[in-house]
Symmetry: none
């Protein structure tokens, strides 16, 4: 496997952690950490998640069944916890494991048909555009939307942290935040926060779209 060249997807994978021997090829990418960065990243993640839940160190330590001194040191960036310790924290924080070892982020983004970072294949008449790489631990559910012109489909806000990705396959549509929807043609892509009111309205018959619903 050595690599991900392969036209389409740059896979992601951890970068070198520390004194490692001859690793096989790997593309480090934004989001990966190396060695000591790793523990710093974990430290930040733990703190972030803990503050998100509003727990104190003492309380979290209690729930996770670890010493609060241990937690204190971890959040301060001192040391290389065991997997059991991390796991316990994951449980207590109610977040999936890997969430603690990789970070986050969202926004509004439009990629017009023909725009975006394109990976042209030399081996075929084929162009792949990375529209959105996956934030760590996000859950992304994939929907197909078949819509006809009609009244606007207004969605009430979803859970905080939700992001929607829309890629129009055929037809035309208006999609995005209710206050500032984007008109999309075939191949157009838009992503926007799902935790504010938003719409999807077909402008032509036979409108086809993919919506990827991302919740962190």
């Amino acid at each position: 496997m050595s690599d991900t060249s392969d036209g389409i997807p740059p896979t992601d994978r951890p970068a070198r952690p520390s004194g490692a021997g001859a690793g096989s090829g790997q593309g480090s990418h934004p989001g990966s950490a190396t060695g000591s960065e790793l523990i710093g990243l974990i430290a930040a993640s733990i703190r972030r998640e803990r503050e998100r839940t509003g727990l104190s160190m003492a309380e979290l330590a209690r729930r996770a069944g670890i010493a609060k001194s241990t937690l204190s040191q971890l959040e301060s960036g001192a040391g290389n916890p065991s997997v059991e310790t991390l796991w316990a924290l994951g449980v207590a924080l109610d977040v999936p494991f890997s969430r603690l070892v990789d970070p986050p982020r969202p926004v509004v983004r439009v990629v017009r048909a023909g725009e975006g970072p394109v990976t042209h294949s030399e081996r075929a008449d084929y162009a792949a555009t990375l529209l959105a790489s996956c934030p760590p631990n996000a859950r992304r559910d994939i929907y197909r939307i078949d819509a006809q012109p009609g009244e606007t489909r207004a969605s009430d806000p979803h859970m905080t942290g939700t992001v929607e990705h829309v890629l129009l396959g055929a037809g035309r549509a208006l999609a995005g935040p209710t206050e500032a929807p984007i008109e999309l043609g075939p191949g157009d892509y838009v992503s926007y926060p799902g935790d504010v009111p938003h719409v999807f309205r077909a402008l032509e018959p036979g409108t086809l779209a993919v919506i990827v619903m991302e919740h962190i």
Copy 2:
């Protein structure tokens, strides 16, 4: 993906690891481990991934920069490795971190245009089909594919555990495992393991597809 039925998503989250205090609510799910099970699971994962790559313990240990004795103990189910150790193994094995702490498995699934569980909106001329709910901890990267008829686009296998989802927006294409590709028309959807050889070939000019690359 906790299971292949892929109906709708059970939440994912680690189960209790060991002596933990009062956890907040959480749904344990198949695939999660508790406490000592966790290290057994890690042991199995390491061995599985190592054997997949065909490396010996000694060689893997060398590449990961850890003592082979350490690796031996880990694979035998002894011990609670530190994250750095696990990370180093993840790098050397060329698998994402969480792969070592949660197990695998995928399938092939086709949803033809017009098929699939449809959620009709009463508020608009709008139909949403859930094609694939997100497996726990999966990362899903979204790609747009613009392809023209030409030679077959053959992808070498990606990292183990990868699943690709293809939804055709326009045109026609042949996509799926090299040995058994599926012909897709507008609105058709197929998912298949990305860790076996697979192809994507446009059959008509102006073929547009969305590929969601899922790695666990």
